[in-house]
């Protein structure tokens, strides 16, 4: 029998994802848990594991195509399983005790007869009638003829039905994504702009930024803290940790300092529930760290940072950065952050006005550390200065609370031993 595996909702209210890479071929034998395909969703790029043992009977969608949650991803030919048995197993999975760990199977993964719809049209067998895209018969016939996958066409008919015209126009649009129309008037033939569709990550970033700026009342304070003591400690332990392959950065200390300060100043770890008329004070301290990747910014979370040692934090940063670079972050890595840190200093920049990772209450911007003259006692000496920029949602945190929170962070960083004293 065949098992139709549908694209599951791997996040909270995920609607669609884009195929980044297929890891299986038609006819390939797969084991439960093997990566089938890497999908880019609006939050993560993640590999989707196979829920079953079997042989890949069909793959749906090409690299770059958008797949809606609930749409078929692959069909797996499973040997020796009766439909009844499978239906039982299905029920168990959907209760969440399934083989796919955190993945929730997006319901209705029913057993179908081998459906060929959505398979690239070089497949010569007859088109099945059980469809996904709503399309008119003529549109289907033309799409098949032209080798266009009907499921990728946006329909303009009633109920977004794909019509003949849509297929014909789709064929026309396809060749030129470069538009020659004219930001440079007078020279219309020059291809002066390149138009690229928005990636899921870019869409999400844009949406989140607007949501944050629209909803939160941003207020930013700037400070400098002298960290030569911290620098000495870091240098010492950096070498020790290096033997265990752990990279000790300033960020590990900053995360710890922030987590401990959040415990003292609860407003900065809160969230406003405007509609419900409540303030939600969180008693867990999960620090999101902004990581610059090729595809865009992601903010994975280090959980319970207050309870972790500096070393444990350093290990967590290492792990999560590697995952982010490799595009392997999961939904779990991304969720439940309570406060964020953006550390742009390694690239450049002293101060910034960071945008809050809404609905969190604040975000700390960490600038470039530099040697500066500082006053110690009555002497001007060379100091190592770390610039900090703290944006808070002024609806949640008042100025006094914000300044006290900032002072706390600075105290911890100026006297790192205190980090293990509290």
């Amino acid at each position: 029998m065949r098992y139709v595996f549908k694209f599951p909702d791997i996040g909270e209210g995920l609607e669609e994802g884009t195929i980044v890479e297929w890891h299986v071929e038609k006819g390939q034998t797969v084991k439960m848990g093997d990566s089938l395909v890497t999908m880019e969703t609006d939050k993560v790029v993640t590999a989707i594991p196979s829920p079953r043992d079997g042989v890949i009977a069909a793959k749906f969608g090409k690299v770059g195509e958008t797949i809606h949650v609930g749409a078929a991803l692959v069909e797996i030919e499973i040997e020796g399983v009766s439909i009844e048995e499978d239906a039982k197993k299905e029920a168990v999975e959907e209760e969440g005790a399934g083989v796919v760990g955190t993945l929730e199977v997006a319901g209705n993964s029913m057993v179908l007869s081998a459906s060929k719809e959505g398979v690239p049209s070089d497949d010569s067998s007859k088109t099945s009638k059980s469809g996904k895209a709503l399309a008119t018969p003529v549109a289907r016939a033309i799409a098949k003829d032209l080798g266009i996958d009907i499921n990728v066409i946006t329909g303009t008919g009633p109920g977004n039905r794909v019509t003949k015209e849509d297929v014909i126009n789709f064929g026309k649009e396809k060749p030129s994504k470069e538009v020659s129309s004219s930001p440079t008037p007078g020279n219309p033939s020059e291809k002066s702009v390149q138009i690229e569709p928005l990636s899921q990550i870019r869409k999400t970033i844009a949406k989140n930024m607007i949501q944050s700026k629209h909803n939160a009342a941003h207020m930013t304070v700037f400070e400098e803290v002298e960290i030569s003591t911290l620098d000495q400690i870091r240098k010492k332990y950096k070498e020790i940790f290096a033997k265990e392959d752990v990279k000790l950065t300033y960020l590990a200390f900053i995360i710890k300092a922030v987590a401990l300060s959040l415990k003292k100043y609860r407003a900065l770890n809160a969230e406003m529930d405007w509609d419900g008329g409540n303030m939600i004070y969180k008693k867990y301290y999960n620090i999101g760290i902004a990581i610059d990747t090729e595809k865009g910014l992601v903010v994975p979370v280090i959980k319970n940072a207050d309870k972790l040692s500096i070393k444990e934090i350093a290990v967590a940063i290492d792990n999560i950065s590697a995952k982010a670079r490799d595009g392997k972050l999961t939904m779990d890595d991304m969720k439940d952050g309570t406060f964020s840190i953006t550390s742009y200093g390694s690239i450049g920049g002293l101060f910034a006005v960071p945008v809050i990772n809404y609905p969190q209450a604040g975000i700390l911007g960490v600038g470039r550390i530099s040697k500066k003259p500082v006053v110690k006692g009555d002497d001007i000496v060379a100091g190592l200065v770390l610039p900090l920029s703290l944006s808070v949602d002024h609806r949640i945190a008042d100025g006094g609370e914000t300044a006290r929170f900032m002072n706390s962070i600075m105290d911890y960083l100026a006297d790192p031993v205190s980090l293990i004293m509290d």
């Binding site: 018969p137 016939a141 009633p158």
Partner: protein, 450 residues
């Protein structure tokens, strides 16, 4: 301030008004005469009611005995026009009452009076000035006049369906399916009928295949026919019960004017562009003045009630933010001839012109069981499809209920179906509609019962 003022309560206006009311627009409809307009009061409904009476009369004469009904003395049979009119009037009353009820139920204000457009945002209904965001003109059309010094000699459809003494010799002037319908109807009552067309032929929009079928039919029924005769006045050509047509003197006591119609252009202080007696509108039925729309006969795009209704709905949808162009190429045409004829999509001439590789799949009613049992096996279905994908390009039907059957074809076309879909659609048996499936089989390969 109204959201919408609609002028005219025929099928274009009243349907738009009901829909507007449903969508929550503050709507008024102005009617100078009776609710329902031409269609309900003088056109579609009374003519169909009359046709049913005539068909029954003919059926009894022709078929009663053969079908096993004894005891009918044909000599005693006669057709009573006035009784048929009474039945028709009852139906009209019921239907117009229904429309009025629906208008009120949906919160549409009905204003009786003459309308005049004062500006793009105001309409005068007799002496009352209505401020409005949008205006829909749905004033319909009227027959092109035939002048006559002789009272009652010439009647147009609005004057026809009343209690009267119907004379023996009737001349119907016009080329539309309505003209043919009226000629056949009078003929079936036992009148002597002449059909005078002012064009090269009759039913100009029909596929020639349908037209030729009807021409043969008319010939068999001994309805006299003239083509290319333009009659604008009876002066000089009518005298003492005789009409001079093409050099021939025809007995004529009544002339029924079924000539092509002209838009009822209402009084307006703003200049609305017209062409050939109709208001000019764009693809969303907006006139030359923004916010003033014209739907139904008055814009000259079609003289069919259902098309007027579709246009009216389209405009109200547009005003409610739903923009969907009305595909005028997929509008079905009904011809209430005997037997009925209907078509949708392209005619064969159009298909040829468009350069399609096409196939015509025909199936005759004579091979259909239900048609045989009903004793009405005259007619056919023709499906025109392009050969590559099998898309249905046009459907033509001649059958006793062709005007009902065409709606199946409309659904196929609306859904861009292919002949494969028609062939695969299981049709109940025995029905006349099975001819669709058979023609579908024929298109794909071969019909079963042919």
């Amino acid at each position: 301030m109204y959201d919408l003022v609609i002028i005219g309560s025929g099928p274009a206006g009243y349907v738009a008004a009901i829909r507007a009311g449903q969508t929550g627009l503050k709507t008024a409809i102005i009617e100078k005469d009776v609710i329902g307009g031409m269609c309900l009061n003088w056109g579609c409904i009374p003519s169909k009611a009359m046709m049913e009476s005539v068909k029954l009369y003919q059926r009894i004469i022709k078929d009663a005995s053969r079908f096993g009904v004894d005891g009918i003395d044909k000599k005693e049979l006669s057709f009573n026009w006035n009784k048929a009119i009474k039945r028709s009037d009852g139906i009209i009353k019921k239907l117009t009452g229904g429309v009025e009820f629906l208008l009120k139920k949906n919160g549409v204000e009905i204003i009786k009076g003459n309308a005049k457009i004062v500006s793009a945002n105001s309409v005068l209904a007799d002496n009352r000035l209505l401020e409005t965001k949008n205006i829909i003109i749905a004033t319909g059309s009227s027959s092109t006049t035939i002048e006559s010094k002789h009272d009652g000699l010439v009647v147009d459809p609005t004057q026809l369906f009343i209690e009267r003494e119907l004379p023996q010799n009737i001349v119907v002037i016009g080329k539309s399916p309505v003209a043919v319908e009226l000629a056949q109807s009078f003929n079936m009552m036992g009148k002597s009928v002449t059909l005078v067309s002012d064009g090269d032929h009759i039913m100009p929009l029909a596929d020639p295949y349908i037209r030729n079928f009807m021409l043969n039919k008319i010939k068999k029924e001994r309805i006299k026919m003239f083509n290319n005769i333009e009659i604008n006045t009876t002066d000089g050509i009518w005298e003492d019960g005789n009409l001079l047509v093409d050099g021939q003197s025809l007995p004529c006591d009544l002339i029924v004017n079924a000539k092509d119609r002209k838009g009822n252009i209402l009084e307006s202080d703003v200049q609305l562009e017209t062409e050939n007696g109709f208001l000019v509108t764009n693809e969303r039925f907006e006139t030359s003045v923004k916010g003033i729309f014209a739907v139904g006969d008055v814009n000259g795009k079609s003289m069919y009630a259902h098309v007027g209704s579709a246009q009216g709905l389209n405009v109200v949808n547009f005003l409610s933010g739903i923009e969907q162009e009305l595909d005028m190429s997929k509008l079905p045409m009904n011809m209430y001839t005997v037997p009925e004829a209907a078509q949708i999509g392209m005619t064969e001439d159009h298909v040829k012109e468009a350069g399609y590789d096409y196939k015509v799949s025909e199936f005759p009613l004579s091979a259909n069981g239900k048609a045989q049992t009903e004793g009405n096996a005259e007619g056919f279905i023709r499906i025109l499809s392009e050969t590559k994908y099998g898309e249905v390009l046009g459907v033509q039907i001649v059958a006793p209920n062709a005007t009902d059957m065409i709606n199946e074809a409309s659904a196929y076309m609306q859904l861009e179906s292919t002949v494969y879909d028609i062939a695969q659609t299981i049709h109940t048996h025995p029905t006349v509609s099975e001819v669709f499936m058979e023609a579908g089989f024929e298109a794909v390969d071969k019909a079963i019962h042919k």
